[in-house]
Symmetry: D2
Subunit: 112 residues, 4 copies
């Protein structure tokens, strides 16, 4: 659990970001690459990797205690929402859709 | 929760790594930089940042599904053990000591 | 040199980002921690680490080929400009000031 | 250019790592995902991403000034050599092969 200088709402957002990072990255390599086809189409796969990276970075800024975390969380919310939509379109990616939606919501609150 | 291609032992190790990363980074900036003195001594502070980074990377390799995760986990166990010892020496860093010890143990098992 | 799918302006921006990341991180640990005093004051040191991280991430998004790189570059320009100003205020950090300014300029162009 | 606390051999190794990171990541998304087929086969693509990540991390440890950089460089040399071999097997990836070979060599020297 992060240092006590971080309040409960931020801890919950960090958790949502690290979970979404974990789900996106492990689903990209353990599911999309295994199945192939539309799952390795460039636009989709790049979005999965971009989503993993922005979640990792937004969490990093909150852990650092940087006031810029709000901008990173706003960007994270946007990319997560887009990733959720694209995963829903492909189907059979419910865990990823759920992780992205939860992270988008937590990040939107943090960015406000 | 990471993709189902990752078994329970590895999930537990990923969690331990991401927790240790979170605790080390947020403690370095929220505690060590706030207190100063021995806490911002170069060797100690660099070790905290190195520990955060290797935990982040070991988790990344497990999430990727790379067979090289074993080597990263072995290195992570070593750095975490050293960081735990150094935090114990300084005192008043119990959360960091506990997170590093738990991560070192999980990584040692994963590396075996 | 990154893949040819990346044009010359973007390559130059990636270089500026990776250079600023390198200078900020190595200066934070090799200079600020070595000197101490105002250089390890929480606000300054956290800004150095945040600057290193956003540069690393902006480069990552350009290398991924994600259209969201523009937003990351805009944020990177803002943090680099702030870091340059803070390093100038402290003095004796000319390399860091120059790297941050060059990166801010390249990122502003990329974000436009 | 990284801080002067880093000597010429290490600077050259950091450059080789950041270049290999850049080439592997941009080639994975700008070439492999665009071409498909064997290029998005799970083992190959995961190796490309693992190579990019270990290069990024080895550079980070050198920039931090952590004595553990030697272990990371040893691991980086191993993964880069394997990635070079796999890219050569697939063909039409000469830039990636060259970047991986150069990085493996620089990292082997740094690890010694």
């Amino acid at each position: 659990m992060p240092h006590e200088s971080i309040d409960a709402a931020m801890r919950q957002c960090i958790d949502a970001c690290l979970n979404c990072y974990s789900v996106c990255l492990s689903t990209a390599t353990g599911h999309c690459l295994a199945i192939g086809g539309a799952h390795v189409e460039r636009q989709h796969f790049t979005l999965m990797l971009a989503c993993a990276e922005i979640c990792r970075t937004a969490a990093h800024f909150m852990l650092l205690g940087s006031p810029h975390h709000k901008h990173l969380c706003a960007e994270c919310a946007e990319i997560c929402a887009q990733c959720a939509e694209d995963c829903e379109r492909l189907g059979d990616m419910n865990d990823c859709v759920a992780a992205c939606r939860a992270c988008a919501e937590a990040c939107r609150r943090m960015a406000a």
